[in-house]
């Protein structure tokens, strides 16, 4: 079976529900008492679509400002980005825009972009309209989704869309991407073997000068 392996990074302001979304999708559960992520958490999951298998390495990052300077570590070499905001908080939508700017500036490879408005269960408190979010997402060539991690609404679609996006990317001969594509019958668990390490490890700072410097510059007040 044709297997595509990609790295996906989840970005967004604090408290918008990034971890809740990922845990809902991968762990099939929801907790009201999730503690803020410190640094980042790493998950893996597999999705089968038609004749392909997609393996996702999900980096769920922390939303707090103090971790902002570490983000390049996670979005470097990413093939897809989930940009999550809270529909009841306009500031978190603005923060998505600034993430997109940062990605555009620092990531040269093609990225599957997904903008996700979370917390649709709080519809009455909505501050970001669907139209506004759609319009913005179109302008950056992404796909827009609305979800509720609480009610498990729409989250499946987000990850499915990412998987489909990655398959398309892998089949496009004109795109130079870092996806790992192989026939899964003869390559067991490759992300952990030595070849995988050099490929997916975060060791390509020197290749990506702006990222290295980016890691130091922001964050001061």
């Amino acid at each position: 079976m044709r297997t595509v392996e990609g790295k996906i990074v989840v970005l967004g302001g604090q408290g918008v529900g990034k971890t809740s979304m990922v845990v809902r999708y991968i762990g099939k559960m929801f907790s009201h008492h999730i503690s803020p992520t410190i640094g980042a958490s790493f998950f893996t999951c597999k999705i089968n679509i038609e004749d392909s298998k997609v393996k996702l390495q999900v980096w769920d990052t922390a939303g707090q400002e103090r971790f902002r300077s570490m983000a390049p570590m996670y979005y470097r070499n990413a093939n897809a980005a989930l940009l999550v905001f809270d529909i009841t908080e306009h500031a978190s939508f603005e923060s998505v825009k600034s993430w997109v700017k940062e990605l555009k500036r620092n990531v040269d490879e093609p990225l599957v972009l997904c903008v996700v408005g979370n917390k649709t269960d709080l519809e009455p408190q909505r501050q970001v309209t669907r139209e506004e979010a759609m319009q913005y997402t179109e302008s950056i060539n992404g796909t827009y989704f609305e979800t509720s991690a609480l009610n498990d609404d729409g989250i499946e679609d987000v990850f499915l869309n990412v998987a489909v996006g990655l398959i398309k990317m892998s089949k496009n001969p004109n795109l130079k991407h870092s996806l790992r594509v192989y026939n899964s019958d003869n390559a067991p668990n490759p992300y952990l073997d030595d070849a995988g390490l050099t490929r997916y490890g975060l060791s390509s700072i020197e290749l990506n000068e702006p990222l290295g410097s980016e890691a130091k510059s922001p964050m001061c007040c």
């Binding site: 410190i38 958490s41 400002e65 975060l202």
Partner: protein
């Protein structure tokens, strides 16, 4: 009043008879206001009532905010132990209870007190009034203040403030903290700390309930020495080839299973406590592997270590932490972790850990020593300790707190800075406390109140041979020191 606290300086606040700073620096050593000497506060230009008013903000705020601020401050009075952190410019950073914004006047007062004493080239250490101790710690750009209605010694109160300071450093690093405040002295540090307040909250609870902080030691999960060696060896062999891995530790339920370190480096107990606290306060580690930056202030206050945190498996809730200086090492450590878990499982170590976790510590009454209610034992060579199960009559939160205060009191007498004791016997209202320092261990006992002095002392002398017989000693303490 505006929310910027230093503005309060121009308010009605004045020290009525403030001494001339230049002439009085020697007489103004520390405004040490003792309960027994009610005249002393007035001597320093601050009478006790005024002081209380100031600290409660009631005499100090704009009419518009009087009610609200007053209520908030009054609310705080009911707590036994409170901690505030502020920047040296008086900006609120953290308050254990209440909303910092609502307490800006209070923070203003604290800042004024500290800087007023500083102006005369002196340091404000503590103020005592009405059975309440205000302890101050001014470190770098931060001021930490605790308000305690407990019987703890100055050293203990100061050590708790230092822990809170270290916790802040562990989140932001000292170099970043210093830099930020150099660039912008009225920076609102809460922006950087957001999401980490719970680490401080949890640390304070941890300090109030766990003897580890009082003793400056860590609790060890009792394991047969061979079982523990197996675990250490498995970790060493999986990690020995990984460059830049500094520490690997396995902890479960607040107890250390093993710690492997790079030869050159050691991990101090207070840094270990911060790691324990991190694991305790972060449920999210249970769901996935995490890659977490953490600064260990005693190891290196100016940089982050990157920590691979993961629980061993669904069926073994021990938490493995792999600490490195290399931020590119995640996947390597992730592989190493899988290898460690596989080998642990194959060799039956996961079962050993689970069995040890299921075993409750023995109760003092099971030792057959007449009148012994509770005891703990700290190794003097290794910063490790063991304590018996807390049993009746200490089975309510109030009683547990009472027991803690008894030990705090005993500990402060045994470790008196100028007159340390080898043996300390205290007849209290409802128990007898006994501290006994041997060449290798420190023992702390709680006896029934009616046990005679000679019985208590002879029991204390006999206990080590009963309790540490055979291999028990090697089970309860880690004497080996595995390195990569």
């Amino acid at each position: 009043m505006s929310s910027s606290a230093p503005g309060g300086l121009e308010g009605p606040f004045k020290f009525p008879n403030s001494p001339e700073p230049q002439s009085s620096s020697s007489s103004f050593v520390v405004p040490y206001i003792e309960e027994e000497r009610p005249e002393s506060p007035a001597k320093h230009g601050l009478d006790e009532k005024d002081f209380e008013k100031l600290v409660l903000g009631s005499d100090f705020v704009d009419e518009s905010n009087v009610d609200e601020d007053c209520n908030v401050a009054q609310e705080l009075k009911k707590y036994k132990y409170n901690i505030f952190v502020l920047s040296s410019a008086g900006k609120p950073v953290y308050s254990r209870y209440g909303n910092e914004d609502k307490l800006s006047t209070l923070f203003g007062v604290m800042q004024v007190l500290v800087s007023f004493i500083q102006d005369s080239n002196d340091v404000l250490k503590s103020i005592r009034c009405n059975g309440c101790t205000f302890t101050f710690l001014s470190k770098g750009p931060l001021i930490l203040v605790s308000v305690a209605k407990t019987q703890q010694s100055d050293t203990q109160l100061l050590s708790q403030l230092t822990y809170v300071y270290n916790q802040v450093i562990s989140v932001v690093t000292l170099s970043r903290l210093t830099k930020i405040f150099e660039q912008k002295c009225n920076y609102d540090l809460r922006r950087l700390l957001s999401g980490s307040e719970r680490l401080i909250d949890q640390l304070l609870v941890f300090m109030e309930t766990d003897y580890a902080f009082l003793l400056g030691a860590v609790r060890v999960l009792p394991l047969a020495p061979t079982a523990r060696d197996d675990i250490s060896n498995i970790i060493v062999s999986a990690c020995s080839k990984i460059k830049n891995l500094v520490f690997a530790l396995l902890i479960a339920n607040n107890q250390l299973i093993t710690l492997v370190r790079m030869k050159k480096y050691e991990l101090q107990p207070s840094d270990l406590h911060l790691l324990f606290n991190l694991v305790n306060s972060s449920e999210s580690f249970k769901t996935a592997e995490s890659w977490t930056p953490i600064c260990l202030p005693l190891f290196n206050p100016s940089g982050f270590l990157h920590c691979h945190v993961s629980y061993l498996s669904e069926d073994c809730q021990a938490c493995l932490m792999l600490l490195t200086v290399d931020h590119d090492l995640f996947y390597t450590l992730s592989t190493a972790k899988q290898k460690i878990v596989e080998t642990l499982r194959r060799k039956g170590s996961l079962k050993d850990i689970n069995d040890a976790l299921a075993l409750k510590p023995i109760s003092a009454s099971e030792l057959g020593i007449y009148g012994l209610r509770h005891f703990m034992c700290k190794s003097r060579k290794h910063p490790q300790f063991w304590s018996s199960r807390v049993d009746t009559p200490y089975d309510t939160p109030e009683e547990v707190e009472h027991l803690m205060s008894l030990y705090q009191n005993l500990h402060q007498h045994v470790h008196h800075p100028t007159r340390p004791l080898k043996l300390c016997y205290q007849q209290m209202d409802s128990e007898i406390m006994l501290g006994h320092i041997t060449a290798e261990y420190e023992f702390y006992f709680t006896f029934e109140p009616l046990v005679t002095k000679s019985d208590a002392i002879s029991a204390a002398g006999r206990l080590p041979s009963v309790w540490l017989k055979d291999d028990e000693e090697k089970k309860k303490f880690i004497f080996t020191d595995p390195t990569f």
